[in-house]
Each structure stands twice: as C-alpha cells, then as structure tokens.
C-alpha cells in the first residue's frame, strides 16, 4: 500500500473567519458519515485541512467518495513520513517509481511549513530532487512544465509526500446554510438545481407533484431515484414530499384559459410548497428555472408566478445555458434517469401556445373564480406523502417480486 493517508483541503468555509470551527466540525462529521462502512479509519484535524488515515484501505474508493462531498476543494493521497531527510527521500523515490505512467520530466516542490526543520524549502527541492535523479537516470527536471510535480509538505507532525491533486466538489458542508424546499419534477434541470443548492450548504427537502392517473407510477419512481442520487451527495437522507396534484390540475384545466394554465399551475405549486416549507421550517424555495427556456420561464412569466409566494425563490440555473446544465447533470449522474420517458404533471395538458407574458390581474381574477381554491390547496398539502430517501433506499426494481426468487 503506497499511500497511508488522504489529505482534504477546505475551500469556501475558510473565509468564514469566526465560524471556521463550527464548519470544520461539521465537515469532520460529514466525512465520518460518508466513510462509515470502512472500519478503523482515523482522522487528524489540522489548520484548514483534514487527514484521513487509511490504515491499510486502498485509497481509490475512499477518494472517489470524498471528492463528491461538499466543502472539500481538493484532496490528495499522500505518503506520510517522519521528519527525517533520508526517510523523506525514500518516500519520494518510492512514489516516483510507482507512478502508473512513467513520466519523463518532474520537479520537486517542497514547502517547509514547520520552520524548525533543518533544511529550507529551496534546499529540500534540491536534496530530494537529486536523490530521485540518481536512482532514475532516464528522468529529467523541468521546472516550467513537468509531467509530475512531486510535492513535499513539511509540517510539525509529519512530512507528506504526494503528487496527485484531485478536484473536490467545493462549496459548504451540508446544512451549514439553512434549509429550503426544492421543486423536483423529474426533468433534467431540477436535480441539477438541487445539487447546486446542496453544494452551497443548503439542506433541501424535495417536493414533487403527481397527477395519477394522468401520470404514471414510473414517473414517481423516477423522482425517487433522483432524490436518492441527491442524498448521495449530501451524505444525509433526503425528505421527498409527494403532492397529489390531480384535483387542482383538472380544476385549473376547466377554467377555460388554456394559455394561462401553466402560469396557474406553477402558482398553485408555489403556494403548496410554501405551506410545506412552513410546516418543515424551510426558508426558501429552490427551482430549476433557467431564463427564457420555456414559456413559464420568461421574465414576465416568472414575475407573475413568483408573486404567488413570499419566500425567497432561489434559481441556481437561471443564467445557465441548456448544454451547461446537461453537462452538470451528466457529471452528477442524474441525466440518464432524467431522460427516462415518463411524463410528469408539468407537461400534461400543455396548451398549444402558452402565454409568455401573462397578465397578473387576469390570473388573479381567474383564481378568485375557482370554487374552493384555498381548500383544494390545503387538501393537497394534507394529502402529501413523505418519504425519507437515502442512497440505499430500495428501488421498485430492487424490491420487485419475492427475495427468495432471486
């Protein structure tokens, strides 16, 4: 086993000055939770960094998991050695000789953070570099564009030798910035919006509207799958609210204002979500809207729709292009699920020409004429089903049939 530790570097949370301690504590908890299935892993906290001591576990699957956790800017598998020149040289050579692809050039970047070490950074570059060169005569030094930059980080407790720097997901640790509701449709955009919200340290509860029998059971399974995926990133179970929307939707369809139906639906959704937010102590609503993407996402539409809610509406994708959103969806592994062909309630009863510039007064007028509008909203809130989803939650497929059959 080449590497004995993984070092995690914090990003955004370092700027938070006085809150640093709280964030670091949260981060440690989150890392521990993510690695709970690994036995005898230990941790060491130092300034702005966290060391995960592998105790014999291969680093790859652990690094793979940690790179998806929020609050970590980058990570590196490292060899730790005592503060002794010969031992540092040995570690450096071992690492260079075990690289999967043989480099032709390299340089050493030593950093003496612990000033009592007898050789300074410059001297260490030379002392380690020359040792490696003697043992590997085909290798050359290139200080500007080396194939491999071998780093030697001299700290008080140990020296860390490494070269690989793996990008982390960045952001804040989970739930360090409060809680919001996420409108999760099953399409491409809303899971990405959820991921970006989680990355900023928001705890989210997902809200999905279904219109059975106009939508299918599989549309619901799809949303469950997406929420599970989000919970992998947060490292915590995610609550999914499944709102029965059939009554409201069929009522709105009968209001005979085809071009406003989407506007009316979206306003009803926001109102229901706001009530759910209040019951679950959330302070905002996250949506996957992107400016101009569809009729309900023009600025005039968003103006009329947004007025139905008082809570701040957070729209992380608002200025992004579709292809950027798709790229993120692929990166976080929600794209494949999102494009499964099960219709959700947003595409039901879609009019031929939905309004891109709805009139607020007319919309409010129509709503005031709907019999029992408030009661219908309340019924939907009351009828909402809650599921708590974690990555290990069984899917409908995993639960199919009897276990004894398989």
């Amino acid at each position: 086993m080449l590497y004995d530790q993984i070092v995690l570097r914090y990003g955004d949370l370092m700027v938070k000055g006085r809150n640093r301690n709280r964030f670091e504590k949260k981060m440690l908890e989150q890392v521990k939770q993510a690695l709970i299935s690994y036995e005898d892993i230990t941790y060491f906290k130092s300034f702005g960094r966290l060391f995960v001591k592998l105790n014999g576990h291969p680093y790859e699957p652990i690094a793979d998991r940690l790179k998806d956790l929020f609050g970590i800017v980058s990570l590196s598998p490292v060899i730790s050695t005592e503060l002794d020149l010969e031992k540092i040289r040995l570690a450096a050579l071992t690492l260079m000789q075990s690289l999967p692809e043989k480099p032709s050039t390299f340089k050493v970047s030593a950093k003496r953070a612990w000033k009592k070490f007898p050789h300074n950074s410059q001297e260490m570059n030379h002392l380690v570099g020359s040792h490696v060169l003697r043992a590997m005569p085909d290798l050359k030094v290139n200080v500007n564009k080396p194939d491999v930059e071998l780093r030697v980080d001299i700290q008080e407790e140990a020296t860390y030798v490494f070269y690989d720097v793996i990008a982390g997901a960045g952001g804040f640790p989970f739930s360090s910035n409060g809680k919001a509701m996420l409108l999760l449709s099953g399409g491409i955009d809303s899971p990405v919006a959820g991921w970006l919200a989680l990355r900023k340290g928001l705890e989210v509860e997902a809200v999905h509207f279904h219109s059975y029998p106009f939508t299918s059971e599989q549309a619901k399974d799809k949303v469950i799958e997406l929420a599970k995926r989000l919970s992998y990133f947060s490292g915590e179970p995610i609550k999914l609210h499944l709102v029965p929307f059939t009554e409201i939707q069929t009522t709105l369809v009968q209001a005979k204002s085809d071009n406003l139906i989407i506007t009316l639906m979206r306003r009803a959704m926001l109102r229901i979500t706001e009530q759910l937010a209040e019951r679950n102590k959330a302070n905002g609503i996250v949506t996957g809207e992107s400016l101009g993407q569809v009729a309900s996402q023009t600025l005039p539409s968003m103006n009329v729709i947004g007025r139905a809610a008082d809570l701040p509406l957070l729209k992380p994708l608002i200025m992004m292009d579709k292809h950027e959103i798709i790229r993120l969806a692929e990166r976080i592994g929600t794209f494949e699920t999102s494009i499964l062909p099960y219709e959700d309630c947003c595409t039901l009863f879609l009019p031929k020409s939905p309004s891109t510039n709805p009139n607020l007064r007319i919309v409010e007028k129509i709503e005031s004429l709907i019999p029992n509008y408030k009661q219908l909203l309340l019924d939907a809130v009351e009828g909402t089903e809650q599921l708590l989803l974690s990555p290990h939650h069984q899917t409908a497929v995993q639960a199919a049939g009897e276990d004894s059959w398989f």
Binding site: S216, E217, Q218, A396, V397, Q398, A400, G401, E402, S404, W405, F406
Partner: protein, 382 residues
C-alpha cells in the same frame, strides 16, 4: 444414471425450479402491458438484469435476455457486422468456435464480409501475436470464445482484450457460454464489448440466453417488432425463465470457488485413469477448464463408446451436442492438427458440482471395461 454431459446442459438447481414454478404461477402478465401487473412483471426482468450486472460487475453496460446462447452469438456477431459495415468488412474469429459463432461468420462471408479464422495449434489455444498480425484497418470485430465447448481449453481473452484496447473501433465479442458461472470473467478489465452466456449451462432453465452489450455499442437488431429488451429484441419476454436464470447465475457464481476446488481434483483423477489406458488419447492442453475432459479412441467410432457407456448408465457426449448428430470428424479436433481418424473419435466428459470420487471411479471402470471389449474390434468399426 450418471450424468457427465454438463457442457450440453446442466441439471437445474432445485431452488431455480422452485422460482420458475412460483413466478410462472403468480406473474403471468405481459411485461409490456401498462397496468400494474405488467409493470410488476417488467420490474422482475429489470431486477434479473441488475443481478447480472452486479454479479459480473458491469455497471453501466446493458444485459439483454435472448432465447439462448445461439441467439446471443448470432445477435452479437451479425448485429456488429451490419451496424459497423461502414467502417470496414473484415472480421476475425477462430477455427474452434461453437457452430453458432462459426456458422454466423460463414453466413456473413456469403454477404460479402471477409473473415479470418485463426488457427489454434495442437494445444487448442489462440495465439495472441497471430491475432495481432491478422488485424487490418478494415477489421471491425474479433470474436473469441472463452472456454472451448469441446476440449475445454481456456482462450487468452484478457490478453486479447488488452491488445484490442489499442484499437477502439474494433469490437471484441466473447462467447462465454461454457465459462459463465464457472470461471471468473473480468469483463471490464478485459475490454470486452459483447459477451454471450446461456442459463441452462449453469443450472438454469433452457430458453434463456444472456448478452452483455457495453455502453456505447450499438447492434443492428435481428428481430423486428416491439421495443422489448431496449429495442434489441422484439418479442414478449419469458419472465419466469428469466428470473430463474438470474437465480441460477447467482447460485453458480457463489459456488464457483468451492466447485472449482472439487472438480479440478476429480478431473486430475479421471485424467490419471485415462492415462492408464494406452488406447485413449487426451485432447487439448492447459490452461483448460476443470469441468471438461476430452479424449479420443483412435480407430473406434465415438458413438459406439457413447452407447456402451450408456449401457453402464453413463451419459456422455461425442462432440458439441449441437453438432453431434452429423458424423463428420470434429472441426475442432481437425483444427488441433488431429488426423481425420483421430478427429472422428472424440469423447467428452463434462463434470458438475454433484459429482463424487465414486462417480469418477465408476466411469473409469466402465471405460476400462469398454476398451477391453472393443480392443479386438479396433479399426473394423471406423
């Protein structure tokens, strides 16, 4: 009865039969139906698929259920040839493939494809350097079996796969009908694009074949109609048999190591017995699968030996069951460089996990008895 014909078909696991009965009774809806019963049937197929993906660690790839190994082989080979004909029309396989591969290539030759049939040499193994030399800019498919169904030799598919990783436009198909559930298969590491398996060779029901298709690979479909099996294979799926097949695969893989230890010892003992009979000649060489022992009785029609074994209550095969009714010499043995006389006389013993040392002793005693009876008639019966 002593059954030594596991390469042709295996006795199903008791639990597999039980699954088959229960699913057949309770899940009869068409998996393509929209109602709940149909969705439940469909989910059973998907769960079966996930068992395959999990057991063979093929994450993002796609597993298709077919009617058997023959269909999977045809689907893979013709599907690739027709889909990627625009890139070139050269295909590579070996002289010792199963008929369902070999004949598929023969048909493609009629359609204007050029096929290289790699020789195997007298040990019965493909030479990777020879394969490399046969590659051309026109090559679109290499198909090599994992374990030969007649003589049991294990082909170097990992090395071939590593070689082919350098040629991303060449697809690599492996017929693993005789190895799935019996030998470890490193699908991803070996860069395999397509892999064939068959349920009834590993304790499952007849009528279910497996085909792995790596993500990103497209096959020209053989059957047209509905969009079942991701559009690769139209036709209503056989749900009970598919679920039972997934169970059989799981069980056979869980028992793989233990079975291997057991039958490799039985094979060693049987080989000792055969080596003690100078009339019999073992075929093939290591590395070979522990469940297959193949030998010839030069100068004697193999059917005679098979029928005499039968009189002792022992079931064995001449060559591949799929070709055993024609009396031409074995194409596989001829490829090994055997004389026609030698190639005509092949007898295959294939073992399963239920066999014991006593079974092997009974088989050896029967063989000794048969050889003693036939000795005076040698050459008059060929």
């Amino acid at each position: 009865m002593l059954y030594f014909d596991h390469c042709a078909s295996t006795p199903p696991y008791e639990e597999v039969v039980q699954t088959m009965i229960e699913v057949m009774k309770s899940v009869y809806a068409n998996p393509s139906s929209l109602h709940r019963a149909g969705i439940q049937a469909d989910q059973l197929i998907e769960r079966s698929r996930s068992v395959l993906a999990e057991r063979l660690q093929t994450g993002s790839g796609n597993w298709i259920f077919t009617s058997g190994g023959t269909e999977s082989n045809n689907m893979a080979i013709k599907g690739i040839a027709r889909q990627y004909a625009g890139r070139g029309k050269h295909l590579i396989t070996t002289q010792i493939e199963h008929a369902s591969v070999y004949e598929a290539f023969k048909q493609l030759e009629d359609e204007g494809y050029r096929v290289t049939y790699l020789p195997v040499g007298e040990t019965g193994h493909v030479n990777v350097e020879q394969l490399e030399a046969a590659l051309t800019a026109e090559t679109i498919l290499v198909s090599v079996m994992h374990v030969n169904n007649e003589i049991g030799t294990i082909q170097p598919i990992e090395r071939i796969g590593r070689l082919l990783k350098r040629f991303p436009t060449i697809m690599f198909h492996v017929d693993a009908v005789q190895s799935m559930g019996k030998q470890p298969i490193k699908l991803l590491e070996s860069g395999i694009d397509l892999l064939t398996g068959s349920a009834h060779k590993l304790g499952g029901p007849r009528g279910v074949g497996f085909l792995y298709i790596r993500e990103g690979v497209t096959l020209y479909p053989l059957l047209n109609g509905g969009t079942q099996e991701n559009g690769y294979r139209a036709g209503t799926q056989n749900v009970p048999a598919i679920v039972a097949s997934a169970k059989a695969l799981r069980m056979s893989m869980e028992r793989m190591e233990q079975r291997e230890r057991r039958i490799s010892e039985l094979k060693r003992q049987l080989i000792q017995h055969i080596n003690g009979m100078p009339e019999l000649k073992l075929n093939g060489a290591e590395p070979s699968a522990s469940h297959i022992i193949h030998f010839s009785y030069p100068g004697m029609k193999p059917e005679v030996v098979i029928h005499m074994l039968e009189q002792h209550g022992i079931m064995a095969s001449t060559k591949s069951a799929c070709s055993s009714k024609d009396d031409k010499p074995s194409r596989v043995l001829l490829a090994l460089g055997a004389s026609r006389e030698h190639a005509a006389g092949g007898i295959r013993i294939s073992l399963g996990e239920e066999h014991t040392v006593q079974d092997i002793n009974a088989l050896a005693a029967a063989l000794a008895d048969i050889v003693r009876q036939l000795k005076p008639l040698e050459r008059r019966l060929t």
